[in-house]
């Protein structure tokens, strides 16, 4: 908790003003082939203010956080807004005020582990790798944690305090086949959420065992045939698909600049089996991986139904875009570090589960691919997207066949989602970083889907 009454600094504000004190604390420990290649802790703490004047924004930040610097930053943000206002003469009337309050009721209470506890855990995992898989050419075990603590107040009466801890464990395995290296990257989300470290180790070892088998299959695998194919996108890939190809194109700032979604509001853009929601903080199953109760403009965060049974229903907004579209703001204005201004960003975006069983979906394909894990994804204004696929298999006559080498898949999201003919009844969430001028923590989820997609091959 920061020892400042931030509201006291906003007393004299005539125009809209946000004030935020934030600290992003990052720890990274990495063992590479058993050696500690990273062992670091970092804190990035500071104060920022954003002021609005007749359509001009002024932003200022400082890494020095004390009473004098907070006052100075407010002064500088106002100066910046006034400087632009004098140059621009816009006289915009601003946006509808929002006022919401929230305190730290939702912070996950992760166990506090010492640096030694963490390194010992990594050493245990590394020892397991050496003993169980002596043929590994390279192995990495990585612990990455990020705690974001922030305190926000606005001149419209919003205030919030949050502390969101997050830790992820990663294992990377590399083997060699015919003098060529093959790698697999295994994320393990929510490390430290349980107090039972031994159980976490067993869980992780099970995940490593599964993925090592996949890696061997990949090294012996084939390149797919290039072209449009029937595929099952497993839940992790479906989550990235919805984030990249639907999520970004329905962020209101991208809609304003001309993204394809702007043409399709209230029109059918996907199969009736597809519904997409950007959850603010909770689903029926509990708290989301990236809970946002109040956004960084002080707006209470609302769930946003983006696609309902195939129909595009709404976009994601900050205050300004909501004003421009004549709708209520949805709480999507988020800033990653203290020195960043809020931008329209997703939170927890997911395709909702359907009714099919994965096994039944695979058996329904004669000649296609089962694509399990993606390395990354990118999407475009046209909703054309690509994902690197680092784990997948051929499907032949309804059965899993050869493993696949690393490939890329692509398509136009609206076409691909129109082609969805089955949606599985389970779903999986994953957490990651999204890049849009700034980084941002987001989560994405989905069931497995059966669709037609362009597979890059040889």
């Amino acid at each position: 908790m920061f020892p400042y009454d931030l509201n006291a600094y906003l007393k004299d504000s005539q125009d809209y003003l946000e004030l935020r004190v934030q600290d992003n604390r990052v720890q990274r420990i990495q063992l590479t082939n058993g050696n500690v290649s990273h062992n670091s802790f970092g804190s990035k703490k500071g104060v920022s203010a954003r002021a609005y004047k007749n359509g001009a924004w002024g932003f200022a930040s400082s890494s020095v956080v004390d009473s004098s610097s907070i006052s100075q930053i407010i002064k500088e943000a106002k100066f910046n807004a006034n400087y632009l206002d004098h140059k621009l003469h816009k006289s915009d009337h601003g946006f509808k005020p929002t006022a919401a309050q929230a305190s730290d009721k939702w912070s996950a209470q992760h166990e506090k582990l010492t640096a030694k506890d963490k390194i010992d855990f990594l050493k245990n995992v590394d020892a397991y790798l050496i003993k169980t898989y002596p043929d590994l050419k390279a192995r990495d075990t990585i612990l990455h944690s990020l705690d974001i603590e922030k305190n926000l107040v606005t001149s419209e009466g919003s205030s919030s305090y949050s502390m969101l801890p997050r830790a992820t464990f990663y294992v990377s395995l590399t083997i060699e086949k015919h003098n060529e290296p093959y790698q697999i990257f295994i994320p393990y989300y929510g490390f430290g959420a349980s107090k039972n470290r031994a159980a976490e180790l067993v869980d992780l070892q099970r995940l490593i065992d599964e993925n090592y088998l996949h890696l061997v299959k990949k090294s012996e695998g084939v390149y797919p045939q290039a072209g449009y194919k029937e595929c099952i996108l497993d839940s992790k890939i479906a989550g990235i698909l919805v984030h990249e190809a639907i999520g970004h194109t329905t962020e209101a700032d991208l809609v304003q600049s001309g993204s394809i979604a702007g043409q399709y509001l209230n029109k059918k853009i996907a199969s009736e089996l597809i519904s997409v929601v950007d959850f603010a903080h909770s689903t029926a199953e509990g708290t989301c991986m990236v809970p946002v109760y109040i956004d960084d403009e002080g707006t209470e965060a609302q769930d946003t139904v983006i696609i309902e049974k195939g129909i595009l229903k709404s976009f994601m907004h900050n205050k300004e875009s909501a004003q421009s579209f004549g709708v209520e703001p949805t709480g999507h204005a988020r800033a990653f570090e203290y020195s960043d201004e809020p931008l329209i960003r997703m939170r927890n975006t997911a395709i909702l589960a359907g009714e099919s069983r994965l096994k039944q979906m695979i058996s329904s394909i004669e000649d296609g691919y089962y694509l399990i894990q993606s390395s990354n994804g990118q999407a475009d204004s046209t909703s054309e997207f690509m994902f690197g696929v680092v784990l997948g298999y051929e499907i032949k006559n309804g059965k899993i066949a050869n493993g696949l080498k690393d490939i890329t898949i692509s398509g136009v999201a609206t076409d691909v989602l129109q082609s969805v003919s089955m949606v599985s009844d389970d779903m999986e969430w994953m957490v990651g970083f999204c890049g849009k001028k700034q980084l941002m923590t987001v989560s994405m989820g989905g069931p497995a889907i059966k669709c037609k997609i362009n597979v890059g091959g040889r």
């Binding site: 500690v36 970092g42 640096a115 093959y182 790698q183 001309g258 680092v390 080498k405 890329t408 398509g411």
Partner: protein
């Protein structure tokens, strides 16, 4: 405390607490930005940040900490935490602090921003695009000024100081005509002094014209092996991928790079000479010393196709049993060839002119595929039409070996200097 006193305090405190070696760097950074939302200038930003990065070596164990709380009362707590992190680590004889290189100071670039000029330049650029390219829709654009001051002191006596200011420009845009839209495109450039007319830099006008042609893009309707011509802007991420995959620390010392044991051997086309130039006068961005405390020098990485240097830190070099590199990468320059771009296009019987690739990191063995964005189909030496939904697929090591031509013209992006290059034998597939 002044920054020099903070550095000394930290090193003394660590020494008194049985830390064997240490290094401390204070970075002060000022950032100014004027940016637009769509085609309206909307925000003026001024950020000030001071941060400190400290490395401690104790009993052959290493720990790193960064903080931007440099107040005297917080320093002991930060340093105690660093010692605790270090104690918890594992011994490794290859950790080292750089040797005494004396005191050295470096500086380049502008000292203070000219806000009025930044505003005028951005406004002029936006107006120019609105007037001359009415079908271009700007998502966002910005002009920045960044001033970075660094001081590094280590327990071996090295004291390095640098002062570096430069302007930057960024724009993200697309073409739009009623219901037809193009892919997004991005441009950026860095400048030591802000030019009056940004539009005349970086081949921007041609790229804006090409983007409007993407409104009528069509997919390639077949799968074939052809040639691609890659633009300077598109080369930048490809070279960075190659460096990460083949030349940097982890890839080399874990032997997962396919170029291990290839020093002084042919690894690329004889046409290719690649430099990493962090201290070049031709590149306005850059760094004067590496994160591990060595004065940086420019380096030839590949000379006429022969691998001359990896990009190894001191730790990476010791782990790989090789020499530390003159720098740790980035700020790349490819030497010009002798071809004109128009001749290079004429020499392609079937292929693509590729201005952007949407792709992830290549696989460990170099396999690489992605979607060709902002790209054009070439047939019989002529650019025929814009393409969409078209993928390219190859192997990044093979692509570097299969460079057939390099243009005489190059583009200086401020953080790199690249020509256009032609690569043969790439798999191209459409819908």
């Amino acid at each position: 405390m002044k920054s020099g006193d903070v550095l000394k305090y930290c090193l003394d405190y660590l020494a008194q607490n049985k830390v064997d070696d240490s290094q401390c760097t204070i970075t002060s950074e000022k950032l100014y930005e004027i940016s637009s939302d769509l085609n309206q200038i909307a925000l003026l930003r001024s950020n000030f940040a001071e941060s400190m990065a400290i490395t401690a070596l104790k009993n052959s164990k290493k720990g790193d900490i960064t903080t931007n709380d440099l107040t005297p009362e917080s320093l002991p707590q930060t340093l105690d935490k660093l010692i605790s992190i270090t104690d918890s680590s594992k011994e490794d004889k290859d950790y080292e602090i750089s040797p005494d290189q004396g005191s050295q100071a470096f500086s380049k670039g502008a000292q203070e921003p000219d806000l009025d000029k930044m505003f005028t330049s951005l406004k002029k650029l936006i107006n120019h695009i609105n007037d001359k390219y009415p079908r271009i829709s700007i998502r966002s654009s910005a002009i920045t000024f960044k001033k970075v001051h660094k001081k590094l002191l280590n327990s071996n006596g090295t004291f390095l100081e640098s002062d570096h200011g430069f302007y930057g420009f960024y724009i993200m845009f697309m073409a739009k005509d009623n219901h037809k839209i193009s892919s997004f495109n991005y441009l950026s450039n860095y400048f030591e002094q802000l030019p009056e007319d940004i539009i005349s830099y970086g081949n921007f006008q041609n790229i804006l014209s090409q983007t409007t042609k993407l409104l009528d893009a069509q997919t390639v309707t077949e799968n074939f092996v052809g040639d691609i011509i890659v633009t300077p802007q598109c080369l930048n991420p490809i070279v960075h991928m190659f460096a990460n995959l083949a030349l940097e620390d982890r890839a080399v010392y874990t032997s997962t790079s396919m170029l291990v044991d290839q020093l002084n051997k042919q690894v690329a086309s004889k046409n290719l000479t690649l430099h990493s130039n962090p201290v070049s006068d031709d590149i306005c961005d850059g760094y004067f010393f590496t994160a591990d405390g060595y004065v940086a020098e420019n380096a030839v990485i590949i000379d006429k196709g022969i691998l001359k240097s990896y990009l190894l830190s001191n730790y990476g070099a010791k782990k790989a049993n090789l020499q530390r590199s003159k720098n740790t990468g980035q700020f790349y320059a490819i030497e010009p060839g002798s071809s004109s771009l128009s001749d290079m296009i004429k020499n392609v019987s079937k292929g693509l002119f590729v201005a952007r690739i949407s792709a992830g990191m290549p696989a460990a063995n170099g396999d690489f595929s992605g979607v060709a964005k902002n790209s054009f189909y070439i047939e019989n030496g002529e650019i025929k039409r814009a393409v969409n939904e078209t993928m390219i697929n190859g192997n990044i090591y093979e692509m570097f070996r299969n460079i057939t031509e390099i243009s005489a013209d190059r583009i200086n992006l401020g953080d790199s200097i690249y020509p256009w290059i032609a690569i043969k034998g790439v798999n191209i597939s459409g819908k």
